[in-house]
């Protein structure tokens, strides 16, 4: 995973509430075998609307998305996070996120920034005018060139993983000894649960 400390640049002023994972990536795009390429289906129904923010040429490659309340609700599909990454989005700012989505986003190195509605409204104005937004994970703040400064909260574990580009699998693999110790214990206390299948 790419370490993230700063995300700065254009922000897409989307602002819509209750954007579910079906809107982020419709079910028709789930039949893939890679994480890449989902950008083409991302926000398909929104992009069918004339003048939508995603197809604005200036927003191409923008790293930040600004959305409304309850972003990422609906199914647990991780494709939603992959679709955002494929668009180049590595940070989403919204008043709130669905738990599953923010977990999936984190696991894929996307920073989700919860801010109060008033702050999000202000950033929408800045972004819509084409000005850049600066998200500093280390300082846990969002700033603009107009002296705006909004602090945000993040779980300390998630923060350190994102800053270090650490993936959870790698972190758990580092606990290999503890896992092996558990397996040795379970082999005597619950032997009937180990070794079910003759491997291929």
């Amino acid at each position: 995973m790419e370490p993230i400390s700063h995300v700065a640049g254009r922000a897409i002023a989307f602002g819509r509430k209750n954007v579910d994972t079906d809107v982020i990536i419709p079910a028709a795009y789930l039949k893939t075998i890679t994480r890449e390429g989902l950008g083409k289906g991302a926000f398909e129904t929104v992009r069918a609307e004339p003048g939508n923010v995603f197809d604005e040429p200036a927003n191409a490659g923008a790293p930040i998305l600004i959305a409304g309340d309850n972003f990422g609700c609906g199914s647990s599909r991780e494709h939603a996070a992959w679709a955002l990454l494929d668009l180049g989005i590595t940070c989403v700012i919204a008043p709130s996120f669905s738990d599953i989505f923010s977990g999936n986003a984190f696991k894929n190195g996307i920073l989700t920034v919860p801010l109060p509605q008033a702050a999000v409204d202000r950033l929408m104005v800045v972004a819509a005018a084409g000005d850049t937004v600066d998200v500093d994970l280390e300082a846990q703040s969002v700033t603009t060139r107009f002296q705006d400064r909004f602090a945000f909260e993040i779980d300390p574990f998630r923060k350190s993983c994102l800053l270090g580009g650490l993936d959870e699998v790698g972190l758990t693999l580092a606990r290999g000894d503890a896992i092996a110790a558990y397996e040795a214990r379970a082999a005597t206390t619950m032997p009937f649960l180990s070794g079910a299948v003759q491997a291929a």
């Binding site: 075998i33 890679t34 977990g103 993936d167 699998v169 606990r175 619950m190 491997a199 291929a200």
Partner: protein
């Protein structure tokens, strides 16, 4: 120190803690991992890219189910028939390639044991009481019917389990759903769980693991318990479970991956010790009177939109919560229904009997019992029966159930997920209605514009005969008076 009383969930959890972090997050060991073709390709890709292996292939089982067509898979000469949908074929091919590459046993599309992961796991004795079981699929809660802690995970977690055999989790809250008394005749486990979801709502179990307790669940068969736990996720719960008992042990004994000999005896002793202790506290408790539960159907686009078959489509204005009013209005517009319409007057053109909720042998027997000697209504255009696995299919054929379905004008298909979500060619046409034994009536779930009514297998069979949603008890009475 004597240990305070614990629930079934807490005992299984405690037995699987590898280590606990300062913030209370636990590294939990996973005993069984089921893998299917939809949520695994990117996980295997992740392992490949980082040069990682599968830690415990012997605790992992791969089965394709979602994309497989349910029409014949071999031609007359026994050659495999290619899958027409290129994307489906690609996902299936990826699993066929990934499983052997990572040393995982694959039950492939041409194996007799192939089926829906949640049918195959218990059937093979791969899923066991007291085990932690995961699969990249939200209906993994199904295996809780055996008394396992079973829940769905996302693709990153699939990769995490493949590589480490563990997951980082926070302990859930506990919820008791207690149903006492006796179910009325004609009321099945599906009616029971639909009714429960109607009572507690789709977010009633959020953040909780449900334990189903009381005489009604004790009285259910193991297959009935799998149906109940399957739909726990539709009540918002991460998992649902029912304490294992003699029925569970009898069901599992002798199955291919179940323990044998002295290990079996040890297992049974441990499984018995898992039952919730007297005096254990649940964070939340719901009590329902069994006698109050009628055959139950859904009217809307959320599994909580349930009503007895004798009831009517509700008026959105009757809901107290404005957001529920709005949702109900949208549901009715999508479903093409109006308030006050009698449920038993709603005509259906499609019938789907299948899915991990209701595709086991008892489900098929219940449907066949209604269809025997009857024929589907002329107005029913499409009616398919999709067994949950190749073994269920073989058993049904040995009992002659396939003949009953075929004689009644229904189609008898190959095992898979099928019209539960229409990732394969089995879809309900736009604007048409389906009486379906599956678990989700979401907008577009069975195909774009499809209108789903969730029902039990017996009620689906009754709908096939009458061409409308109907109280199966009417047909049973007809029989009695004939």
């Amino acid at each position: 120190m004597t240990q305070s009383p614990r629930t079934l969930y807490e005992k299984i959890w405690d037995a699987h803690v590898v280590e606990t972090r300062d913030d209370g997050t636990c590294l939990i060991y996973i005993d069984r991992h089921l893998v299917h073709e939809v949520t695994s390709p990117q996980a295997f890709e992740g392992l490949r890219v980082s040069g990682r292996k599968v830690r415990r292939p012997d605790l992992t089982l791969a089965v394709p189910d979602h994309n497989l067509p349910t029409t014949a898979r071999r031609d007359a000469a026994g050659r495999p028939i290619p899958i027409a949908d290129a994307d489906s074929a690609l996902q299936l091919a990826a699993l066929t390639r990934n499983a052997p590459e990572f040393g995982i046993r694959l039950i492939g599309d041409s194996d007799a044991e192939q089926g829906i992961v949640h049918v195959v796991g218990p059937e093979q004795g791969f899923s066991l009481p007291g085990a932690t079981i995961v699969c990249g699929d939200s209906h993994t809660s199904c295996h809780g019917g055996l008394g396992a802690l079973a829940f769905g995970i996302g693709t990153s977690e699939v990769e995490h389990v493949l590589a480490t055999q563990t997951l980082l989790l926070k302990r859930s809250k506990t919820m008791e759903v207690r149903v006492e008394g006796a179910l009325s005749p004609g009321v099945t486990p599906k009616d029971l769980i639909l009714h429960i979801i109607g009572v507690i709502g789709t977010s009633g179990g959020t953040g909780h693991v449900i334990e189903y307790r009381g005489t009604v669940f004790e009285g259910l068969s193991v297959e009935g318990r799998l149906t109940i736990c399957n739909m726990s996720i539709e009540a918002g719960a991460r998992a649902g479970l029912i304490a294992p008992d003699d029925k569970t042990f009898a069901y599992l004994k002798g199955r291919p991956y179940a323990p044998t000999g002295a290990e079996w005896d040890r297992a049974v002793a441990w499984w018995r010790s898992l039952a919730t202790d007297a005096g254990a506290k649940f964070d939340k408790s719901v009590v329902i009177d069994a006698a109050s539960i009628p055959p139950t159907v859904t009217w809307g686009t959320s599994p909580e939109d349930t009503v007895g078959i004798g009831g009517v489509v509700p008026d959105p204005a009757s809901f107290a919560d404005p957001s529920k009013q709005e949702a109900a209005r949208n549901s009715l517009a999508y479903m093409g229904l109006s308030p006050g319409q009698r449920m038993a007057d709603i005509a259906v053109e499609n019938i789907f009997i299948g899915s991990c909720t209701n595709s086991r042998i008892e489900d098929l027997r219940a449907a066949a019992a209604v269809l025997k000697g009857r024929h589907k209504a002329a107005s029913v255009k499409w009616a398919i029966v999709v067994p949950g696995s190749g073994l269920v299919k073989a058993q049904a054929e040995a009992e002659g159930l396939d003949r009953v379905f075929l004689d009644a004008g229904l189609e008898w298909r190959e095992p898979g997920c099928s019209a539960c979500l229409g990732m394969n060619p089995d879809k309900v046409p736009p604007g048409e209605r389906c009486a379906s034994t599956s678990n989700r009536n979401f907008v577009g779930r069975q195909g774009p514009g499809a209108r789903t009514h969730l029902v039990s297998p017996a009620m689906a069979a009754a709908a096939a005969v009458t061409g409308r949603l109907c109280d199966v008890r009417e047909l049973i009475r007809e029989e009695a008076s004939a």
